[in-house]
């Protein structure tokens, strides 16, 4: 049941903008909870890397006295990867094209993370 609900959240997130290409909810230990990825994306590898990026972001923010981590943003020539907490035990990863409006990405991803957090509680 919860798995279906989380899957729906991810599907809705992806469907909310043509520029959001994929998303996944991952445990902080790097295990996949649910995903809506595109063909060719390796779920296992993505989940481990994303959890590691979030951990590294937290450690960097703490080391540089930037307070609690809000997000990790990776930008490449072809687009962005936004990583944010979904509660204390999970991470939402959103993969978007270069054309996306970043404000919209932040709002949609935060909303999805909050919804997932409520289900995981």
């Amino acid at each position: 049941m919860r798995e279906d609900q989380i899957k729906t959240i991810l599907t809705d997130l992806n469907g909310g903008s043509a520029d959001i290409e994929a998303s996944a909810l991952i445990s902080t230990d790097g295990l996949i909870i649910s995903s809506a990825l595109t063909p060719g994306m390796d779920e296992d590898r993505i989940s481990a890397m994303v959890a590691a990026m979030l951990s590294l972001g937290e450690r960097t923010a703490a080391e540089l006295a930037r307070g609690s981590l809000e997000q990790v943003m990776i930008s490449g020539a072809q687009g962005h990867v936004l990583i944010i907490h979904a509660g204390s035990d999970a991470v939402l990863c959103t993969i978007a094209s270069k054309q996306i409006k970043l404000g919209l990405l932040f709002i949609d991803a935060s909303r999805a993370a909050k919804a997932a957090t409520a289900i995981l509680k």
């Binding site: 959890a51 590294l56 937290e58």
Partner: protein, 188 residues
């Protein structure tokens, strides 16, 4: 030899490699014949290390001290004591190696040297061929046990530092280590 560790990995290693109480008596029986040969074996070992471009700098200026430490360790293999203190000492050896920035290659190569050198030494100095063969089997098991324990200290110390600096949990580290490499173009 009685296993005195509750660590499941050490228990598995111990059971699979087949160390038992006979090994203790085997080494004790040949102890008198082998201990006098240890200084020469240690000299040969450090001569080999001194002749290698990578290991020579690691021992430069402290060869005599290292020889003494090595000889004490080698003698300890014939001490008949392989319990909790023995296991802890091997782990401490690994920790000292990590602190001294001595790479794991050094330990692996050193153990390999001993595995290669000991059969001839035992065969030439133990009158009973069966005793020599049995002692070699026991020693090989002990070398493997020591290397396993020392390597675990390397892994533990290095991964502790890595986890601390990156802020990742042991579970995530295990995940990253086992998730598999991305196939490169041209690979099967």
């Amino acid at each position: 030899m009685q296993l005195q560790s509750k660590d499941p990995n050490i228990q598995t290693f111990w059971h699979v490699c087949g160390l038992d109480k006979d090994d203790e008596s085997i080494l004790w029986a040949v102890r008198g014949a082998i201990l006098p040969l240890i200084p020469a074996l240690t000299d040969a070992f450090y001569a080999t290390l001194g002749a290698d471009a990578q290991t020579a700098p690691l021992i430069e200026g402290r060869v005599e001290q290292l020889k003494r430490t090595h000889a004490v360790w080698l003698e300890s293999l014939f001490s008949g004591e392989y319990g909790a203190d023995f296991i802890r000492r091997q782990q401490q050896i690994g920790e000292v190696h990590v602190r001294a920035k001595i790479p794991p290659t050094f330990v692996a190569a050193s153990m390999s040297f001993l595995r290669g050198a000991l059969p001839d030494v035992l065969a030439a100095n133990i009158a009973d061929k069966e005793d020599a063969r049995a002692a070699m089997g026991t020693l090989l098991r002990l070398f493997d046990l020591c290397q396993f324990l020392i390597d675990r200290s390397y892994d533990g110390t290095l991964s502790d530092g890595l986890m601390n600096n990156l802020g990742i949990s042991p579970a995530l580290l295990a995940r990253l280590q086992t998730v598999g490499k991305k196939p490169q173009p041209g690979q099967d």
